[in-house]
């Protein structure tokens, strides 16, 4: 079996055709309203992503890391989290941030180059984006160890953590060390790997000789492979893994089997390393189409609802666009802010010196930059 073959162990509750199927280990009972909410989430985050890509194409963002194709993996896992659960994202988890209540506009700041993350992770329980591949898995594990020390496992007030990472990250030392630490300390963390088949240009076969979810066994905790384009299965599997963590039963590796429909980032050209037919094949597994199809078949939605969601997406995109264009550049003095918690007389002196330097240009009526 190829490592890229989803195989019979793929957990699925909703087929690409929109058929609801049963799984012996995972069940999910949702109300009609909850099904509709998931659809709405998927549509809105795809729209956020498309608008951000457009803003990059128009020069308003320096770069954008698209989540196109990974909406179900992110919404399913994001909606599985309780408010007290903490998420440690890579730089692509815009839909998880959306689930955690972070204003999507704030997620543009890093890519526009005006900040390096302006939301408060303590309020949203959504950590800042981490760009060094895999590094956040250790932060997530340490945070989960802190949950244990606070006595927040095994009871009704249990908390858990999700570490997000990709297939490429599984080759990093930090990710493997995180697996070991979490296993040895039985930390309440879910390792959520979005296997989108590519690490920029490198296919899965360049990272592994075994299906990724099976790696967990070697570290001493369960690993499962879920259809990452199936929002229902992802929700059910992640919820079970989080519950397990909260009960003090330790980590789980969830491999969400999905596909990066777009480029790695807006700077990437995927036509150099993958063929169009592969992308076409994955289009048939689209995470949103199958939910829409299911909703139609079950007669859970009417045209008015679908139009309402579209209108909401339009309004969100318009707000994002206006907000992005209005985002001011930070003042030059911001370079020196927040380097140290306890302040720094040396940097205060550099800030003042730089301000004096800039003011000379203002006096002369020229621009220093």
């Amino acid at each position: 079996m190829s490592v890229a073959d989803p195989g019979p162990e793929l957990i699925q509750l909703l087929t690409p055709e929109g058929e609801r199927v049963d799984h012996p280990d995972y069940s999910l009972e949702l109300t009609d309203g909850e099904y509709r909410d998931l659809y709405r989430d998927l549509v809105l985050v795809r729209r956020i992503d498309l608008e951000a890509t457009a803003l990059q194409r128009q020069g308003e963002l320096g770069i954008w890391a698209s989540l196109l194709g990974q909406e179900a993996a992110q919404i399913g896992s994001g909606r599985a989290m309780a408010p007290q659960d903490m998420a440690f994202p890579t730089y692509r988890e815009h839909a998880v941030g959306y689930c955690k209540g972070v204003d999507p506009l704030k997620m543009l700041g890093l890519f526009r180059g005006v900040d390096q993350g302006s939301w408060d992770p303590r309020e949203s329980n959504f950590h800042l984006y981490t760009i060094v591949i895999g590094a956040q898995c250790l932060h997530a594990t340490g945070y989960a160890m802190g949950i244990q020390k606070d006595g927040k496992v095994g009871g009704d007030d249990g908390e858990a953590v999700i570490a997000y990472f990709g297939d490429g990250a599984t080759s990093q030392g930090d990710v493997n060390e995180a697996f070991i630490w979490a296993s040895v300390f039985e930390a309440p963390v879910v390792f959520f790997c979005q296997n989108n088949q590519y690490a920029i240009s490198e296919p899965l076969e360049r990272q592994t000789r075994v299906p990724l979810y099976r790696r967990a066994a070697g570290f001493g905790f369960p690993g499962v492979r879920v259809d990452g384009n199936d929002v229902l299965a992802t929700l059910a599997v992640t919820r079970a893994a989080l519950d397990r963590a909260r009960q003090g039963e330790g980590p789980t590796l969830v491999e969400a089997y999905t596909y990066r429909m777009g480029a790695h980032t807006t700077s990437d050209d995927p036509t150099r390393y993958r063929i169009a037919s592969e992308v076409e094949a994955w289009k048939l597994k689209d995470p949103i189409e199958r939910v829409r199809s299911f909703l139609h078949k079950q007669q859970l939605v009417d045209e008015a609802f679908l139009a309402e969601v579209e209108a909401e997406a339009d309004a969100l995109a318009a707000r994002l666009r206006a907000g992005c264009l209005a985002m001011p550049d930070p003042a030059p003095s911001a370079i020196f802010d927040h380097v140290y918690a306890d302040g720094s007389p040396e940097l205060d002196a550099q800030r003042e010196s730089f301000a004096r330097y800039l003011s000379r240009f203002e006096e002369a009526g020229t621009d220093a930059r």
Partner: protein
Amino acid sequence: MPAETLTLAKALNTGLRTALERDPKVLVMGEDVGKLGGVFRVTDGLQKDFGEDRVIDTPLGESAIIGTAIGLALRGYRPVCEIQFDGFVYPAYDQIVSQLAKMHYRSQGRLRMPIVVRIPFGGGIGAVEHHSESPEAYFAHTAGLKVVACSNPADAHWMIRQAIASDDPIVFLEPKRRYWEKAPVDPDAEPYPLFASRVLREGTDCTVVAYGPMVRTALDAATASANEGGRSLEVVDLRSLSPLDLGPVFASVRKTGRLVVVHEAPGNLGLGSEVAARVQEECFYSLESPVLRVGGFDTPYPPARLEEEYLPDLDRLLDAVDRTYAY
């Protein structure tokens, strides 16, 4: 508590103990820090008294020691991480430099990283390779980190307590060849500020700046010079390598007109280079000679049988003082 005569290692131990007693969020974590008490016994007895939850024997992985400490700090803890030897810190370099150092900055001040990274550093103990290095410049070069080095038992006790109380990440360098040197430590004394350099011996002819293990060497050189009816050396212990507190150094150089900086680390782009650059900016008209640096050679750390030749000693230091008089 009256002043007690302690080894530098024991002074660190009592400092860690006090910090663990006073703040339940303080954790000690690293390889062999628990049952064994650390390979230098700096954490001796702490796990027995504070439990495995607070004094944590970690798996072997330096990157993970720092990476999980970051997560624990995000959760409100104050981890004190031990890196067993200087030469083993590099697997953690990414977590220290890319993650730990930048977290407060990139979070616009929302996320604090009260983490201490303890590293026994420097040579002189006849060890095999990777056990005698002086990596301070790598960390002092990184904005967001603070770097301090203690040189004597009293400073060791107080500086570790002050470092743990700080809300900034601090690389805490311990002069391993001085671990067994003894001096009185008064745990009730008014502590000297953490990020301040200190004149340890006054003199009139030449200023000698040192830190960590070289402070003892500098003091011995000053004594030898005085005993031989030679020159009167003023010795400044930098104590903090980032930020540098050079006010006392400038004042000293304005008095003596001469400066020699000594460290075990290679001279090329070492702390001595930065001190020299800043002293010539601030004290240009007071200098009677160029600032001279005495350091390890620009080589990898040699096999132990050569370390006496490699490491700066009293004679090389006094030779440099002599050379400042050649101008």
